[in-house]
């Protein structure tokens, strides 16, 4: 330790000439003061660093009075060194040189002591670290740009909505330290109108608003994600003015000399300013309030969607070419996201269409199967029915023939009568099946529907009375007349009424109501009978469907067929043990299908 000190003291005790030579040749600005701050020495390199001669030992100046030291706010620090005897160092001191250049300096000052430790002066080293600081700043900026790209990608991955994509990109362009453009605008291509139109914008409308926003941002150090998620309302508010501006922007794509159109046509970005060769058209410059802005096209593969415009409207900072390049990176991301979103929309639409087609197909298949079932059943039934007709005629005919000659007192008389009646019953059934022919013509004439309903009720009066049914009629008096084949329509009503009666074997109530609604005339026939089981409800109008042992399952089919021929509809609602309601709708408009 002692040896080392000895060696050191040997080094710092050269002759004055040796000192001066040593200090002169070090490539660092150096100056020495006495204990009062009077400059005693400085090397030539100091002038080179500061680009100034005012700190010069020969001028016998005091550093506390020196303009450079004062402007850097260092006079106080130097006083402190003399008082506290402590070293002082400071980095990245921003310094404006007399030639106008901006520099960053580093400064290290150490108190000089005599053998007794008394302060005799200060020695100070000044270095130019502008390059280093700029490199640092550049790096920092690059990192923050990269982190914005990363955040924008993350944010974009959360959405397929184009509005949201626009918002994310524009916020990314204007947010934080990365790009930090003041304002950003989205202009999209409208293929139909062959123009560019302003879609959305982000940015403050004046410097006050801007400083408010930026203060908030820098205090909170929010990530892009937070900005996007936490302050949607604030965003909207602050962007009102720019969004008003953006809505006024419209550029026909035919304006080939417009730089925006050129950006699209050539897929090229531009950095425009007052000095640049290309200039913004004056109408756009007026609308935006600036001529200094970056333009980048939104390109994805072979498609161009539009352009992003970004400017420093508030800070009036010059736009660097590398910022434009970075903007292009963001624009490419935006384009990809927009393309994805459009593809997604298209796929979603296709899926929907396919689903619909599938549903239709399913329905049609169901219908087809139903028709096929009916058609085959129809064919079989028709064949069987015809073949039964002959033996029935023979059996019934002979029974009647014998019956004529049999005395009523004969024990066989009633049995013969039964044979005859039962065959007649089967024959009637055959008539109904075989006359269920779609070729019947209908004979339409203007009718009062109430009369037709009344007449059909009269026809089953006996059955109503014997079944102990109470009928409640509610007929609209001024019911409009409509075109009906009264005979056929009455037949349909009878079938429905009979169906209702058979649902009430132990008596009940039957409601029959007629009324008109818009251009429809409606009939409702309701009963409080046994109801139709839910699984049978969809088949109730199918031929040969029946829940009753004694029915042939054609009554309602025929009724529906007749109503259809009148261009009407029949619907049924039913609840087990509560009853059923049959609603018939007939149109007053004359547009029946020709049967």
């Amino acid at each position: 330790m002692t040896d080392k000190l000895k060696n050191a003291s040997f080094l710092v005790e050269p002759t004055f000439c040796d000192w001066a030579t040593l200090l002169r040749d070090i490539p660092v600005g150096i100056f020495i003061t006495d204990w009062e701050g009077e400059l005693c020495y400085n090397n030539d390199f100091l002038h080179q660093v500061l680009k100034d001669n005012s700190l010069n030992g020969y001028l016998r100046t005091n550093i506390f009075d020196n303009k450079i030291i004062k402007s850097l706010g260092l006079d106080f620090e130097f006083k402190k060194i003399l008082e506290t005897k402590k070293r002082f160092s400071k980095e990245k001191i921003s310094y404006k040189a007399p030639d106008g250049s901006s520099l960053y300096l580093s400064l290290k000052a150490t108190p000089l002591k005599d053998e007794k430790g008394k302060i005799v002066g200060i020695i100070c080293f000044v270095e130019d670290q502008t390059e280093k600081v700029n490199l640092d700043l550049h790096l920092k900026r690059k990192i923050s740009q990269l982190s914005i790209i990363n955040e924008v990608s993350n944010a974009l991955a959360t959405t397929l909505k184009t509005e949201r994509i626009f918002k994310i990109i524009l916020t990314g362009v204007t947010a934080g330290e990365g790009l930090g453009f003041n304002r950003a605008f989205f202009l999209l291509k409208d293929e139909n109108k062959n123009e560019l139109y302003g879609k959305m914008a982000v940015g403050p409308s004046n410097p006050e608003e801007a400083s408010e926003i930026w203060k908030n941002l820098s205090q909170k150090k929010q990530s892009l994600k937070e900005i996007l998620s936490l302050y949607p309302e604030v965003d909207e508010k602050k962007d009102i003015e720019v969004n008003r501006v953006v809505k006024t922007l419209r550029v026909p794509l035919s304006e080939k000399d417009n730089v925006l159109v050129e950006a699209i046509d050539k897929r090229k970005s531009f950095n425009l300013s007052e000095e640049s060769e290309k200039k913004l058209s004056s109408s756009l410059a007026n609308a935006l309030g600036t001529r200094t802005l970056a333009i980048v096209p939104l390109v994805c593969e072979d498609k161009v969607f539009g352009v992003i415009l970004a400017d420093n409207f508030i800070t009036e900072q010059k736009i660097k070419d590398e910022d434009v390049k970075f903007l292009q990176v963001l624009a490419n991301q935006a384009s990809r996201a927009i393309e994805n979103s459009r593809l997604y929309e298209r796929v979603a639409l296709q899926v929907k269409k396919l689903e619909e087609a599938n549903k239709n197909l399913e329905e049609n298949t169901k219908k087809m199967l139903k028709f096929e079932k009916f058609s085959i059943m129809g064919q079989i039934t028709s064949k069987v029915a015809h073949q039964i007709r002959n033996p029935l005629t023979i059996i019934g005919g002979f029974a009647k023939s014998i019956l004529k000659k049999t005395d009523e007192k004969d024990p066989n008389y009633k049995y013969l009568k039964i044979i005859s009646e039962e065959t007649q019953r089967v024959e009637k059934m055959l008539d109904q099946i075989l006359n269920y022919s779609p070729n019947l013509l209908i004979n339409l004439r203007k009718q009062n529907l109430n009369r037709v309903v009344e007449s059909s009720l009269k026809k089953i009066k006996d059955q109503i009375d014997s079944n102990m049914i109470i009928v409640e009629k509610d007929f609209q008096k001024d019911l409009p007349e409509l075109e009906l084949d009264s005979e056929q329509f009455e037949h349909a009503l009878l079938n429905i009424l009979r169906n209702a009666l058979s649902a009430m074997p132990e008596g009940g109530r039957l409601w029959v109501r007629t009324f008109s609604e818009d251009d429809l005339v409606k009939i409702e026939i309701a009963d409080n009978g046994v109801g139709i089981p839910p699984d049978g409800l969809p088949n109730i109008f199918d031929p040969f469907f029946t829940t009753k042992a004694k029915a042939n399952g054609l009554g309602l089919t025929v009724a529906q067929e007749i109503i259809k021929r009148h261009n009407g509809r029949i619907m049924v609602k039913s609840q087990k043990e509560r009853g059923s309601v049959f609603s018939i709708q007939l149109s007053l408009r004359r547009e029946r299908k020709d049967a």
Partner: protein, 123 residues
């Protein structure tokens, strides 16, 4: 006594119709095929024909026009288990179209009417 020719491939139909019509006082000739029917119609004096349409492979409508050709004014009643031939234009030649039924009163009424008309026309 008016003479009725019945043409049907069902022997029991022939038996039933013969019995019933004979009891009504008609003379009845029953045949079970088209060829025979034409033969009888040509040879004998017939006042009315009851003609079945679907007779196995044969079609009553095929001999309807032949009957009408050889015996002008001979009334023919088409009697079938099927109603669809009603719309067949060939059946328009017939004087009546009745669907088979165990109740023969409609058939009998028709026969009576047609024979009455024929008699009037002859006088």
């Amino acid at each position: 006594m008016p003479k009725i020719l019945i043409v049907d491939d069902e022997p029991n139909i022939l038996k039933l119709y013969s019995k019933e019509l004979e009891e009504e006082g008609y003379e009845v000739e029953a045949v079970s095929c088209a060829e025979e029917a034409l033969k009888v119609a040509q040879k004998e004096e017939i006042d009315l024909v009851i003609l079945d349409i679907k007779m196995g492979e044969e079609d009553g409508l095929m001999i309807l026009s032949e009957l009408k050709r050889i015996k002008k004014g001979l009334p023919v009643i088409l009697n079938s288990a099927y109603s669809i031939y009603k719309s067949n234009f060939q059946s328009w030649l017939a004087d009546s179209y009745l669907i088979k039924s165990s109740n023969l009163s409609e058939l009998k009424n028709k026969i009576e009417d047609l024979i009455k008309v024929r008699r009037i026309n002859r006088i």
